[in-house]
């Protein structure tokens, strides 16, 4: 919400001398039964209104952000000789997926202030709850959250991966893993100069279960009773069918 508001504000400001246009290779990702991840091409162009900025050293950050989820991070500790979840930190909002693609190392192109304002890097995106942590060091828990999701390829940081040609055309590939959560994925482009964001643009990539997946998921949530009955019917007929088939073979 905040980001959308800021973007609207920014686009209205006359100081923004650049306009961004952005396209995606697909406007929708369908999770079907055989879904095995997907590559999305993010491309676009920068429209310059003065010759000066065309000469300047520009950089680009592209982010793809999955739906926010309330998340709990547990830490194990040894109790009575066994390892149990002993400490927890609540995170109000952590994206289920987050990819950052940049033209150069992010520390060299993004200033602290711009990051705070636009919430681009992971520590800015992940929001732990304000209270109820006890004596736990919240930073350790959010670091762990990032580490685990990075290992699972759900949080990605690809520096040098975005290409900016002649300060005008840009493109980058975002690799969506197979274990995607459905929802609206926000694709944002930030144009940077001297560690400041000078222009930005966002669009939405829809990730939806499709076909059989969609049908099963909806049934399980909207008609759980019939879903359960259907599971049992399938199970019983499969169990009965298999023994019947084997009896035929035996004869």
């Amino acid at each position: 919400m905040l980001r959308a508001f800021l973007i609207a504000l920014l686009l209205a400001t006359p100081a923004a001398a650049q306009n961004l246009v952005l396209g995606l290779s697909e406007s929708e990702v369908a999770i079907t039964t055989t879904f095995d991840g997907s590559d999305i091409l993010v491309f676009g162009a920068i429209k310059h209104e003065s010759a000066v900025t065309q000469e300047a050293k520009l950089d680009l950050i592209v982010t793809v952000k999955g739906p926010d989820q309330a998340t709990t991070v547990y830490r194990k500790d040894r109790r009575f000789g066994i390892w149990v979840n002993a400490a927890t930190v609540e995170v109000d909002a952590a994206p289920s997926f987050y990819a950052i693609e940049t033209t150069r190392p992010i520390a060299d192109i993004l200033g602290e202030e711009a990051d705070r304002y636009y919430e681009i890097t992971l520590p800015r995106v992940i929001k732990p709850s304000a209270e109820g942590h006890g004596d736990n060091d919240v930073a350790l828990f959010t670091e762990a959250l990032m580490r685990i999701r990075q290992d699972a390829n759900k949080y990605q940081l690809r520096e040098w991966d975005a290409a900016l040609i002649d300060n005008t055309l840009f493109r980058t590939d975002v690799e969506l893993p197979a274990n995607l959560v459905e929802g609206a994925y926000e694709v944002s482009v930030f144009l940077l100069k001297d560690k400041k964001v000078i222009s930005t643009y966002s669009t939405v990539l829809d990730v939806r279960k499709a076909g059989l997946e969609r049908w099963m998921y909806n049934l399980s949530r909207q008609q759980p009773f019939y879903y359960g009955i259907l599971s049992l019917i399938i199970a019983i007929s499969a169990g009965w069918g298999a023994s019947a088939i084997f009896r035929v073979f035996q004869r």
Binding site: A70, T72, V73, W83, S220, G239, A242
Partner: protein, 306 residues
């Protein structure tokens, strides 16, 4: 071939699932056990969320027990009366188990509960079975002379009230012990995603004194209804039954079970039992080590706030 599971929301190899179903099916056919106690931990190991693994496995057990119970119906080796009494206990137990399961899930301790249950029950049952079958092998090797075990010995069980006649089993005992056995098995079904045959069968033979020939059919009769009920409870309260996962596992499972039954018929009972005991102890120690050794990642992520 990767396949996306709609409820578990993970993508796994379809052949891996078919293969797992097949292998566990062969083992369950060989040993005459449901196989839930092997399949559920294997699903944990390949990355299926524990809550989904437990609920889906309950659904799969319905399938694998159904063909078994049909065969027992034909041979008239099901004690319906006893089965119904066990079932009443089982339904109470399953409901209790799901309540406990959901409570611990909200505390973030459900993994621990499931794994602890596995370690305790697999350890005890595997250990007892191992000692018993070692003794049996020693007995067959030793010259004859040991007296056969006396069945239907009168114990405290016969002093309890609410007696009932179980004609097929040839018993006249109180309904309290079978109901308690049923409750325990129902709790285990809901928490561990198992049929509970590995607890119920010994309890029926040693505790209730039922004749061996009706034990398996009667336990299967109870297991079908209790696991079906558990499936419904998990499906309606947790939405964790994954139909796609269940279908893949049971296709492999029912085929494997038919093959396993044929292999099992060619082996000696003592050999089978000692193999099964070793396997149970193997799964148990793997899970125990996970709890006892320092994990490589101390942190884990759960979805949803409190």
């Amino acid at each position: 071939m990767q396949i996306y599971l709609p409820i578990a929301e993970v993508s796994v190899n379809a052949f891996l699932l078919l293969g797992l179903g097949g292998i566990v099916g062969i083992l369950s056919g060989m040993f005459g056990v449901g196989g839930g106690f092997l399949m559920t931990p294997l699903l944990f190991f390949i990355g299926i969320p524990p809550a989904v693994a437990v609920a889906t496995e309950a659904n799969q057990i319905v399938a694998s027990s159904f063909s078994g119970v049909l065969a027992h119906f034909k041979r008239k080796t099901v004690d319906f009366r006893m089965g119904t009494v066990l079932l009443v206990g089982g339904l109470i137990g399953a409901a209790l188990g799901v309540v406990v399961f959901n409570y611990l899930k909200s505390l973030g301790q459900v993994d621990l509960l499931v794994k602890l249950c596995y370690v305790v029950f697999l350890g005890v049952v595997g250990g007892l079975m191992f000692i018993e079958s070692l003794n049996a092998i020693r007995r067959t090797n030793a010259p004859a002379g040991t007296a056969p075990r006396k069945r239907k010995n009168h114990t405290w069980i016969h002093a309890l009230p609410f007696k009932m006649k179980f004609r097929v089993s040839g018993l006249y005992i109180s309904v309290i012990p079978p109901v308690i056995v049923g409750v325990v098995v129902g709790i285990l079904a809901a928490i561990m995603g198992v049929g509970g045959g590995f607890i119920m069968v010994p309890a029926m033979i040693y505790l209730l004194g039922m004749p061996t020939k009706v034990v398996v059919g009667t336990s299967l009769f109870q297991i079908i209804f209790v696991t079906a009920f558990t499936t419904m409870l998990h499906a309606t309260t947790n939405y964790t039954v994954d139909m796609m996962l269940a279908v893949l596992l049971l296709v492999g499972g029912v085929i494997g079970a038919q093959i396993g039954t044929r292999i099992g018929a060619k082996m000696k009972a003592e050999q089978l039992r000692i193999l099964l005991a070793l396997m149970v102890l193997g799964v148990c120690s793997k899970l125990a080590l996970d709890l006892l050794l320092t994990p490589s990642e101390l942190y884990s992520i759960g979805l949803g706030g409190h």
